[in-house]
Amino acid sequence: MTRPEVWFTIVGMALVTFALRGSFLLAADRTTLRPLVQRALRYVPPAVLAAIVAPALAQPSGAAIGPFDLRLIAGLVAGLVAWRTRGILATFGTGMLTLWGLTWLLG
């Protein structure tokens, strides 16, 4: 992308996001979501986030121990921490430290 394209994309992102957030607030007259839509919206975060995470972690980075990519190992360790602690910073810190540690060991 060229830089003007990046700016254009950012403005588009801002408009899309504001349209979603403002939706029911701007049209505040007794509008409600249908139960099926409400139910579906609950599963947007796990579905979308998993669809982003899985290919990103599976992508080979070039550094590996046997068949296991370093980033995949670091991601699995971080995932375990996320599951136990539910903390964003703990997950993030563990993942980066594991990757750095493994990279240093293979040095």
Binding site: T17, F24, L25, A28, L41, A50
Partner: protein, 218 residues
């Protein structure tokens, strides 16, 4: 709350620069978009040379949850003017919604709802944009050997795991993640879009089936 926004903003700034974006551009993004997870996804897509409409579609999917927040808060702010409601919409991020919905549920008579939401929201917005700027300008000085581009999948992992709250949620995540892996080769990141939609459908169907079974047992 602010404790979460500051490091998340820092990481967003750092990873944008690692993905090749200009520091000014990602700061502009935080200022105008103000939605962390969707910004991280957009940063990764922009860095990998995706088309504009793919970025916008992905942002739409990640942020569609805000419609739920707006619908939930709308009855509480119906008496406010259009400008106030628009301003509330602009700052209605996850944490602001979480705090506001808890507070509004108490039905306090003397609570100024507009000032409460805008106070929270504007503080978050300033912290978020400031932290992004600091991360972006400092991140530009960091060497590539730090592998900070790994920050993006890690942040998503940190958001993904707590978002799986029940069995239908797990079904949604496994379907979305599995299909995204299988379809990773499709052009225009169509794999991501279709896997996410299939995951949402699978979670909704699982939820409906579980609810029906509970109904029979009762």
């Amino acid at each position: 709350m602010l404790l979460g926004a500051a490091p998340f903003g820092l990481i967003t700034g750092v990873s944008a620069v690692a993905a090749g974006m200009a520091a000014v551009d990602v700061t502009f993004m935080s200022l105008t978009v103000f939605a962390g997870a969707s910004q991280l996804a957009a940063i990764a897509l922009i860095g990998s040379g995706a088309a504009v409409w793919v970025v916008l579609l992905t942002v739409l999917m990640i942020n569609v949850r805000h419609v739920m927040y707006a619908a939930a808060l709308a009855p509480h702010v119906r008496s406010l003017g259009l400008g106030s409601r628009a301003a509330i919409g602009a700052v209605l991020v996850d944490h602001v919604y979480a705090f506001a919905s808890l507070r509004f549920a108490k039905r306090e008579r003397d609570l100024d709802r507009r000032d409460y939401v805008l106070g929270l929201g504007l503080t978050m917005w300033l912290v978020w944009t400031g932290a992004t700027a600091v991360g972006a300008f400092a991140g530009a000085q960091l060497p590539p050997s730090w592998q900070l581009d790994f920050a993006v999948p890690l942040m998503f992992l940190a958001l993904l795991i707590p978002s799986i709250r029940d069995r239908p949620g797990l079904v949604a995540a496994l379907t979305g993640g599995g299909l995204a892996l299988a379809l990773a080769g499709l052009p225009y990141n169509l794999g991501l879009v279709s896997a996410a939609l299939a995951g949402i459908a699978a979670g909704t169907i699982a939820d409906t089936l579980l609810a029906a079974r509970r109904g029979e047992d009762a």
